[in-house]
Symmetry: C2
Subunit: 418 residues, 2 copies
């Protein structure tokens, strides 16, 4: 089945908003094994919308539109779909009731325009909108399927997940199962060197690599008659990939983040932690605290931006600062140990570096960052040489330090259990 | 002039990446007064790419492609453009030299495939790529303009800014000037209520509102024979908008951020600051430190997630914690004052709240956050009732607290100068 995504909205053509809907829908369709051949964006212009709509339905079996279901006169997707399929728009009482209830809940008057949102092409499947006033719908006719979804992602996403994906599953030929492996510590080209032969060789599961900032992901997608059989196809290929890349580099699966893995390791092993940050200025603590429940182990974080704070809070020696400077392996070590002692934690983590744009020298250029990790009496430091603007350098310093912490924690716990 | 953006890449159709290029180019073209009628995404499939390319050039005057300029056999945009315009691909020696130099710099071998990147349709304008190996190009023929840009945003954006926008300016009819006003503290519907009549009435400058998380922006775009004349058209409309919305609510212009405004106020007035965060866990400090040069005034931040850290670090009274709890106005006040005293700063800012998903009660639900601001002897607190998931609540708490700090700073400085 060939699908096309048609996003409707002048704000997209003006570049005022990012088309996150097209990405979301494309990914979900890929997971269902439905090929998206085109994504098109068109404005709220009746003629161009009509042309784009007709053209999409001429070349695809399924056309999913987002947007143009609102209450204003610019919102025309339903009208144009009805015209294409030669259907009348008729009032759906249940939808009208839900719209009235919604407005009552948010304490606003219902305008005549909002009633328009309860009219649908005759005979369609109506998709309830639990997060807004615009219901969606599905029209099936002459081997074509038109799916009309609202534009705001917070309305579109739940409607797709709850109403559309279950509907589309019936067109699936076999069952598709995907598993995402998340990799840090080795770059895209190394991944390609190490497992390129698997990517090329495999057809079931397919192996699709994707490089993002600070990590590479591999999506393994298998097709079989049952979920169980599909999983069975993934297992040996996943094992081969993990062997080739090194299991420690495959930090997680699906949507796991490094901070989640770290937080879980800390909580499970009752290891308390505190952070002392200079150049990353709170972002490291912020990442760790993303994970709910971390409060039982994350006792304290400090942002010691000034030398005086490093001395007062962390007992960094004045001598160290004078001799090696704040951006040094020595300072990172004293910061990590200092915060662990001050907060009475098992673990202390530190960062100190030059995020730029100013402050760099030949000897200590912008992007030079030292991280320190103290775990129950042992302190280590690591030098990072990062590139990018201030924001990128700080983000990369946080990502590298967190991943290094993950590796150190696993090594510490393995040693401990021997 | 009608433009169309054609993004080439199967990874876009799979939903692996967001099409940020289309947004970026659309916005820049809007700023030039060039209308984008369609955005299309097509995969690396020769036939479909050819169809999409021909179709785009049949309905638009300018077609800008991104992607398909890489070294692999899947990268076909140049070949298809050359075929469309009936041009030969010929070697450009200067581009080849630059590619060779680039590979030398990153210490990698040049493959035969990379040489392909130095071939261009005869007679085109070549756009140098300072950030990668794929140069772009512009083909002008029969009143059609085809602009070929690389796919990676870090290569595409500089090439667009340096090579394409100056080129397109010659097709501009008059000069367009845009100014963006940034608004916090009042929502989209209130903005609409207060200045909707200006938005509806205005044609030159046009006034385009856009609501993002935590702020509303208004883009004023004026057209005149000179930049100076265009600015003159903006001045009275901007004044009327500021009067209606309240000048304090218009926190900045263009790309200014609230943290930038706050950091500048602190630096200019030599006011030192320290932060004490609970639920926002370092994100407030992280935002402030986004602004380079803030190190002269940002002396220290602490993340006091546990009660014991609040007591030890900030001298929050045990009695306060027992009587009112950590999430209370009283605790926020003691935290703000405590960090200012501990770090010997003029200003102390604190947050304490329930970011969820757990930890909420009927009395203190998820989303309840207290912020505290201490400025030279005076401490104030503010209750925030926020909605969203954990991440959103924390982001919104940071945004609200920073904006409140901006307002308090301005009030303090105004009082001081009287």
């Amino acid at each position: 089945m060939r699908a096309e995504i048609l996003s409707v909205g002048t704000e997209l053509l003006l570049g005022d908003i990012l088309n996150t809907n097209a990405q979301y829908i494309s990914r979900e369709l890929a997971n269902l094994g439905i090929n998206v051949y085109y994504q098109t964006v068109v404005g709220d212009n009746p003629e161009r919308l009509k042309n784009a709509y007709n053209f999409a339905l001429s070349r695809a079996d399924i056309v999913i539109t987002t947007g143009g279901l609102g209450p204003t006169k610019d919102d025309l997707t339903k009208e144009i779909a009805a015209e294409y399929f030669n259907k009348k728009l008729i009032l759906d009482n249940k939808s009208l009731e839900e719209i009235l209830t919604f407005f009552k809940k948010i304490n606003r008057e219902v305008s005549e325009n909002n009633r328009k949102q309860a009219y649908f092409p005759e005979g369609c499947i109506i998709l309830k909108n639990n997060n807004g006033t615009a219901p969606g719908c599905i029209i099936e006719e002459n081997n074509k399927i038109a799916i009309l979804l609202p534009g705001p992602p917070k309305e579109m996403v739940p409607m797709l997940n709850e109403g559309v994906i279950p509907y589309l599953k019936k067109f699936q030929d076999g069952t598709l199962i995907s598993k995402v492996l998340r990799i840090t510590g080795i770059g895209e080209s190394s991944v390609d060197n190490l497992i390129g032969y698997i990517i090329d060789r495999q057809t079931n599961p397919t192996v699709a690599p994707y490089a993002k900032d600070n990590e590479v992901t591999l999506r393994l997608t298998a097709k079989a008659n049952s979920e169980e059989d599909a999983y069975k196809l993934i297992v040996p290929v996943e094992k081969e990939i993990r062997d080739k890349l090194g299991d420690i580099n495959v930090y997680g699966v699906e949507n796991e983040s490094v901070e989640e893995i770290v937080a879980k390791l800390l909580i499970e092993n009752k290891l308390t932690i505190a952070t002392a940050e200079s150049c990353t200025g709170g972002l490291l603590a912020g990442k760790l605290i993303n994970y709910p429940g971390v409060s039982s182990v994350f006792l304290e974080g400090v942002v010691t931006y000034s030398n005086i704070a490093k001395i007062n809070r962390l007992k960094v020696k004045e001598d160290t600062l004078n001799k090696f400077g704040a951006v040094s392996s020595e300072c990172a070590a004293e910061m990590a140990e200092g915060i662990a002692k001050a907060a009475s934690t098992n673990i202390g983590v530190s960062t100190t570096g030059i995020a730029g744009p100013g402050g760099g020298t030949d000897e200590k250029p912008v992007g030079l960052v030292y991280a320190g990790i103290y775990i129950n009496g042992v302190v280590k430091t690591k030098q990072l040489n990062l590139v990018g603007n201030r924001q990128k350098i700080r983000d990369r310093a946080v990502a590298s330090t967190l991943d290094w912490l993950r590796r150190e924690l696993i090594a510490y716990l393995n040693k401990d259990s021997n």
